[in-house]
């Protein structure tokens, strides 16, 4: 028992020593607290959730059917990410401007569009840029794709608008057909075969005109309904109605039948004409943009809140900072004592490796915990980071992150020969955390074998767990938390064995 208490006293020597040493560096403490807070604060007010705007210069072909003024009007409808920079017919000069950085993009209109389309090929809108950043190149490629889509939609809109204008003529033909059906019905009822024959021919002409004109317009509407799977039963109503109409009209002349049969056919023809008229009216009433782009997407989250970008990054920053703090402090603590010769004093004294590690561990846990508490309070109360979950769970995760990070730091400290080596190792851990912990990009974007590195880093676990607790209000994923603590235990065991070899054994 006496030895136990002496062991506690020996461990406490490190606890006091480390705390005093840290407190003697108030600037360091202030930097640790204020630094990350300021970074998040500035990031929060400085972040703009929009893509980069690009100055785009258009190059038209000598035989272009499009006027420069139309291009400008057209370009201005493409979205805020494009700034219209003018139109030129000189592609070389445009590319020179791109090289000089006077514009960001050059869009070259394809030549001989009509003949290209007639050859069953797509006309290519070429988008030149001067970027080397792969992310920017992807962004520009996406914008190019978006631009081509916009152009295609514009073309289709014009086409639909023309169809709606042409539908007036169809409507006139349908009215004439209706009148011929009424007259034909009277002629059949009165037995005037000559008049019936005459009206029958007129009706056939009207049906031919409607069939021809309606194809370009109502079939478009029909396609939209087909895409939707309208009603799930009649997937091709316009085409079917037109076929019925033509068949019934032809049968009036080819196999007239009795008067009653003729009147029944006329009722059916009248019905089909009314249907077509109704669809035509519906087609004319729809905005061409809706017909061309019948669908749009809307995203709705079932999460409790939709955090801002700085809210989203705040837990990750907290986890990364605590890991870096713990790794760096622990990494420097033992290597420094070895270099200045204090370790020799420990070797001669009754101090054990466990007592030294335990004392240091408790002091850094306490210090890291205080820093974490201050930072968390600042994040929640000053930057208004949502905190939907349980504070105890949040604290538990922070303790686990600190515990495992200290394990990494102690191992670094024992295997390092110099301070600068320990700092280098700490920086490598930091760099690995920035790239592999999901801090910058989602873990899903990493090749699976590479994710092994991610799962060795406390920041990975800390980021996922703290986000779940703070932003989703969820309980921690206990498997993740257990994994993090297990890594910490293994590291502590390794540290203890290395430290024991360093302190207890002789050379």
């Amino acid at each position: 028992m006496r030895n136990f208490f002496r062991g506690i006293i020996r461990a406490s020597s490190f606890f006091r020593k480390e705390i005093f040493e840290i407190l003697r560096q108030p600037r360091l403490v202030a930097t640790l607290v204020v630094g990350p807070f300021l970074i998040l604060f500035i990031f929060g007010i400085g972040y703009r959730a929009q893509g980069r705007t690009l100055r785009m210069l258009f190059v038209t072909q000598p035989d272009s059917p499009i006027a420069a003024q139309d291009i400008q009007q057209y370009a201005e409808t493409l979205g805020a990410q494009f700034i219209y920079a003018g139109v030129t017919g000189n592609q070389t000069e445009a590319l020179d401007q791109l090289q000089r950085g006077q514009v960001d993009l050059v869009m070259v209109e394809p030549g001989e569009i009509t003949s290209t389309l007639q050859n069953n090929q797509q006309a290519v809108l070429t988008l030149y840029h001067h970027e080397i950043d792969p992310v920017q190149v992807s962004y520009i490629t996406y914008l190019g794709w978006l631009f081509a889509g916009q152009v295609n939609q514009q073309v289709l809109r014009s086409f639909v608008a023309q169809g709606q204008t042409d539908a007036v003529d169809v409507h006139t033909s349908l009215q004439a057909a209706h009148q011929n059906v009424s007259a034909l019905r009277l002629a059949v009822q009165s037995g005037d075969e000559v008049l019936a024959k005459q009206k029958q021919q007129g009706l056939a002409g009207n049906v031919d005109a409607v069939s021809t004109a309606v194809g370009a317009s109502l079939l478009l509407l029909d396609s939209v309904q087909h895409t939707q799977g309208a009603n799930g039963i009649n997937t091709d109503p316009v085409k079917s109605t037109l076929a019925d109409l033509r068949q019934n009209t032809n049968q009036l002349s080819d196999t007239p039948g009795s008067s009653n049969e003729q009147l029944a056919r006329l009722d059916k023809i009248d019905q089909d004409l009314t249907d077509l008229d109704g669809k035509l009216a519906q087609f004319q009433s729809i905005d061409p943009s809706i017909i061309v782009s019948p669908f749009r997407s809307e995203t709705k989250s079932v999460a409790n809140i939709q955090p801002s970008i700085s809210d989203f990054f705040a837990p990750a920053v907290l986890a990364l900072l605590l890991q870096h703090l713990a790794v760096t402090f622990a990494a420097l603590s033992i290597v420094r004592e070895r270099n200045v010769g204090t370790m020799e004093l420990f070797r001669v004294s009754p101090l054990s490796a466990m007592e030294a590690l335990f004392g240091k561990f408790i002091s850094y846990m306490l210090f890291g915990g205080v820093i974490a508490a201050i930072l968390s309070a600042l994040l929640v109360f000053a930057l208004h980071m949502p905190m939907l979950g349980n504070w105890w769970n949040f604290t538990l995760v922070i303790a686990a992150v600190l515990f495992t990070s200290l394990g990494i730091g102690f191992v670094i400290s024992i295997v390092s020969q110099t301070d600068s080596q320990a700092v280098q190792y700490s920086m490598i851990v930091l760099l690995a955390s920035v790239f592999f912990s999901g801090f910058i990009m989602s873990l899903d974007m990493l090749w699976e074998p590479v994710r092994v590195i991610s799962w060795l880093l406390p920041t990975t676990y800390g980021t996922l767990l703290l986000r779940d607790i703070a932003l989703r209000g969820a309980d921690p994923n206990w498997a993740l938390l257990g994994g993090l603590i297990a890594i910490g235990l293994v590291l502590m065991l390794i540290s203890w064995r290395l430290m024991r070899r360093l302190i207890a054994s002789s050379q």
């Binding site: 062991g7 020597s13 020799e344 004093l345 001669v348």
Partner: protein, 331 residues
């Protein structure tokens, strides 16, 4: 007349000590091909000051590390407090005090905090404030207790290191060059402290480059190039270095060559005798105590008027040079 022969380690007979606290027996330490300590044997009696003297790089610190268990010997063995240093228990270590060559405590802690840290390392009770104050008073640092270690002088740092070594009241102290780089006044204070500690019954194993400090020790080991040249009392070391005691012989009148030759031929006079002036000689004799009356008698027989016959105590710098000279000439 014979000159003192070079001392070979194998010829050294360890001083026979009954109650030895440290016993080194053919200790050897090699680092790769380099031999840091070679075949070192000696004993340190309880409640004594054992001075381990030698130039920089002679293997003093390595020997201390072998004795404190920091290093394992390549060959030979050591017993410290009746235990092999490699097998020290926590309890054994609590009986040791170790002051390294350099200040190895913490510059960002105050004098008091550093001392408190050292006390905790040895598991001293939490009610140790009185002891800390006592020890700070002992090394005259009590009024500087609140100063950061980085803000105190080099001498104060050495005193703080000494205080940290003594705070847990060890019975055996290893002090590795405690007086290196400090002024003579402070050095004298340190030696006063060491004598006081010895009088309290503690054993002190102390290394130093200052050979003059050998006079303060009860026993002195002279180390050079990893080899222990000699272990003896300070007086014994002098005696060994010159092949006997030194006596300054001065006459009122100059004496001639014939008288000098007669004096050199006396049976108790050794070969290293030198003429130091027209009427003075430094004579090496077996024992200064018995040689003095014999010299007086011889002078009376020769009708030589003697001005003075007195024992000469050469400085330890001279003694050390004399001891290592054969090593240098051999090299």
């Amino acid at each position: 007349m014979e000159e003192a022969a070079p001392v070979e380690p194998s010829e050294l007979q360890p001083v026979q000590i009954r109650d030895s606290v440290i016993s080194a027996n053919h200790l050897t330490k090699k680092f790769g091909d380099e031999i840091a300590v070679q075949d070192v044997s000696f004993d340190v009696p309880r409640a004594s000051i054992f001075g381990f003297i030698g130039p920089s790089g002679s293997g003093k610190t390595t020997t201390v590390r072998l004795l404190t268990g920091v290093y394992t010997p390549t060959d030979g063995q050591a017993t410290v407090l009746d235990c092999s240093p490699a097998k020290f228990s926590q309890s054994d270590r609590s009986r040791l005090g170790y002051m390294p060559q350099l200040f190895v405590l913490y510059p960002n802690l105050t004098v008091w905090e550093n001392l408190n840290f050292a006390a905790s390392l040895y598991g001293m009770s939490v009610f140790r404030g009185k002891r800390l104050k006592e020890i700070l008073t002992f090394v005259e640092l009590d009024e500087h207790r609140s100063k950061l270690a980085r803000n105190i002088s080099g001498g104060m740092l050495r005193r703080l290191s000494l205080a940290a070594t003594l705070v847990h009241d060890p019975e055996l102290l290893f002090l590795d060059e405690p007086t290196a780089g400090i002024d003579p006044v402070l050095r004298r204070k340190f030696w006063d402290h060491f004598r006081e500690l010895k009088n309290q019954g503690r054993t002190i194993f102390i290394t130093t480059q200052y050979v003059s400090e050998a006079d303060n020790c009860d026993l002195v080991g002279v180390q050079n190039k990893g080899k222990l040249l000699l272990v003896d009392t300070p007086q014994g070391i002098r005696h060994h270095a010159y092949g006997g005691d030194m006596v300054d012989f001065r006459t009122t009148e100059p004496f001639d060559f014939q008288a000098e030759a007669q004096l050199r031929s006396l049976s108790f006079v050794r070969a290293k005798t030198v003429r130091t002036g027209p009427n003075s000689m430094r004579i090496i004799v077996d024992q200064a105590g018995t040689a003095t009356p014999e010299l007086m008698g011889w002078a009376q027989q020769q009708n030589i008027q003697v001005q003075a016959v007195e024992e000469y105590m050469p400085s330890f710098e001279d003694v050390f040079v004399e001891l290592v000279r054969p090593e240098v000439s051999h090299a």
